[in-house]
Subunit: 186 residues, 2 copies
């Protein structure tokens, strides 16, 4: 693809275009395929243009993880609102399905390489996801925190075990039904 | 270290010596530090000697994961037997503590790179760990499987979230006490 003029992107639009293109590359090729120069080529801007929005590859990965958490939280909030009878089970299933549908993004969001302690924006986006769970599970007491951590551990573990191919799924077995059965014991 | 005569190892002893040395290297340096030649040097045998026991680096990693599962299962069986009143909580805590004490070994045991479907020995060792959990949780019915998967998902998720630094531990908070509280809701 030829490098088009950067002027087709208004300020802000280029950042969004870069993030969208990066999400596509991440989904197809994994984190290893993501470089700022390749991204510039994919979006059709000069090699230097992405640096106006992302200082480094690490900054791009952080922005992708933040975007991932925002979409993840929005999806969990929407499903909790739409299933008021059992919001916890609905959120749990959404958590696991999100991971299976977006494996590379999910791994990036929870990558130990992206240290949340050193990245306030990422920590805030991750906390918002946990707060959504906590509001549904219980109040803000210490006991409520334990309950929310317990529910989180279960859905996260199920997502990771399925992503990593650790749970033996029988031939013809319906993975979504299995997820629903395991989650329903929340 | 100078290369000693291979004759100091009887058949079988060398394999065991290589595995023990590899476990130490894995714990200290992670998987990246493990090569068959480095291992030969660490044990003090000729560079070719490890190949009599392990065809390849992948075979060594598989043997380490099998050893990990055997020790993990033995520890869980011992703790379940010693705490008959609440074997599930005891096993759950042991699961998470094993992961935190042996992070690199735990990651290797559950690595998606070591495909269990293609490695019957590894699949058998992993199944033995799951069977230990399943015997404690319930019978061998379909419902028992769901209960066991549910308990597994929870302890695995807690282990992974703690290993990856995703759960915010307050200053002065006791991690083992937190684990026990979360597990006790099993």
């Amino acid at each position: 693809m030829s490098t088009l003029s950067n002027s087709r992107y208004h300020h802000g639009n280029l950042r969004q275009a870069l993030l969208e293109a990066a999400l596509v590359i991440l989904a197809k090729e994994g984190e290893a395929g993501l470089g700022l120069r390749d991204l510039a080529r994919a979006v059709g801007v000069s090699p230097a243009a992405p640096y106006r929005h992302f200082d480094s590859r690490a900054a791009l990965l952080e922005a992708l993880a933040v975007t991932g958490f925002q979409r993840f939280t929005a999806r969990m909030e929407a499903v909790a609102a739409s299933e008021p009878d059992n919001p916890l089970a609905a959120m749990g299933k959404t958590y696991v399905v999100f991971a299976l549908q977006n494996p590379n993004l999910f791994r990036l969001m929870f990558s130990p390489q992206l240290k949340k302690a050193a990245r306030p924006g990422l920590a805030m986006a991750a906390d918002a996801a946990f707060d959504t769970l906590r509001r549904v599970v219980s109040d803000s007491s210490a006991e409520g925190r334990i309950k929310a951590l317990s529910a989180w551990a279960k859905v996260h573990g199920l997502a990771v075990l399925l992503l990593d191919g650790q749970i033996a799924i029988g031939a013809g077995e319906d993975t979504e039904a299995l997820i629903a059965e395991i989650i329903s014991s929340l």
